[in-house]
Amino acid sequence: MGLFNFGKAKGESPEELAERAKRAESEATQKAAQLEELRELVRHLDEDRLLLLRAAMELRPGMDPKALGQALLEICFKPLGLASFYLALIDWDRDRITFPVYHEGGRLRNQPERPFLAEREGGLTGKAVLSGNPLYISTLEEGRRAGAIFSEAERISGLVPQSWYGVPLGGERGFGLVSFQSFHQEAFPDSRRRLMDALAAIVAMALKAAPARTAPGG
């Protein structure tokens, strides 16, 4: 080892040290950001998990549709950041749609029953129920094109949710639908919609649970 390399061999020059410190600082900042992202993800997952656990535990058989809808509203409205929420039930024989729970503009409202198919094929609810598949509308324009029916409150106030997600209950030509709505565009990413599917499935099972029923094949 040469005499003039002595300083380098013993350690780094101040410039090299400063460079390394800069790199370490940048790495630490990056890691802190990753940590925060992970914490945010944990918060979301924990929220989803709690929502599902609460829905599975609190929605009981024998509750009428209004009580079930209100229980689900209570569980999910704030955590999901919803603007509106409703539970609709279809009576195919009478061609009527009823709304045991209809929450918009910050409170529960009495949404009158109306003809289902006879009236513009039932709006977004009709589209989803007839197809038997969940329907996701991510903007108001898309909703208009898809035949959204606006409520009185929406027409008067002009406050209309941008994102609309409807999950039919009971498959094709099912017996109802749960709708989750937000004022934000594209508010419900795929993972949130899967959660909403699951919440609606719990409502569907609770609505159809018959405690006294002998289990099929049991």
């Binding site: 390394r20 890691k31 699951a198 099972m205």
Partner: protein
């Protein structure tokens, strides 16, 4: 500010001093990743159960579907569904999985040998047994396979199906999750298992043809 505090005043010491912070953050990050994995798994299990457990399937099919979903993710050793026939004083096992496969398990009289399942049914509350010793104190009934092999799960968690006034006077069954590890199921895991039990109860008792109460005004 003193001259010797200069480094401190400018921020964290550069270079080597950043090391321990990074190591600590790396550790926190790994913990959080592990937590995310767990929560994601729980979420996927609940969503999967709601997709797969469909009304109209037989109890055996429903239990098999739940078994397929949760056996590996929950690291189980054994799993069963028991249905109580209170009139006939009988306990039936539509699905009984132990020793790596599903086995037929004969029915037994509830009053003669209730075991942990009978305890869960009579208390109408989930029962958590952390060790085999604790299980013996509760009157565990060992299966033939367990007696022959000596391989007996240490942790046993039973969730009553149809517990609560809304369901009726007595639960109609029990779903049991078991592990070879002692005290294997944390509180949050037991909460998940309870929710899976609720979903199973709904699916067993859901009647697609049932008219809805209160649908018409």
């Amino acid at each position: 500010m003193g001259l010797f505090n200069f480094g401190k005043a400018k921020g964290p010491a550069p270079g080597p001093a950043a090391g321990p912070d990074l190591v600590r953050e790396q550790g926190q990050m790994e913990d959080l990743r592990e937590l995310v994995r767990h929560m994601d798994e729980d979420r996927a299990l609940l969503i999967g159960a709601l997709q797969k457990l469909q009304p109209g399937l037989s109890p055996e099919e429903l239990a098999s579907a739940l078994f397929d979903l949760c056996f590996r993710p929950l690291g189980l050793a054994a799993f069963f569904l028991a249905l109580a026939d209170w009139e006939a004083d009988a306990l039936h096992f539509p699905l009984y999985h132990e020793g790596g496969r599903s086995r037929p398990r004969p029915w037994r009289r509830l009053s003669e040998s209730p075991g942990l399942t009978g305890q869960t049914l009579s208390q109408a509350q989930p029962l958590y047994v952390r060790t085999l010793e604790e299980g013996k104190a509760f009157g565990v009934v060992l299966s033939e396979v367990e007696k022959e092999s000596g391989l007996v799960p240490q942790s046993w968690y039973g969730v009553p199906l149809g517990a609560g006034l809304a369901w009726g006077t007595r639960p109609f069954g029990v779903v049991s999750f078991q592990s070879f590890q002692p005290d294997a199921f944390t509180g949050s895991r037991r909460g998940l298992m309870q929710a899976l039990g609720e979903v199973l109860a709904f699916a067993i008792k859901a009647d697609p043809e049932r008219p809805l109460v209160g649908q018409r005004p």
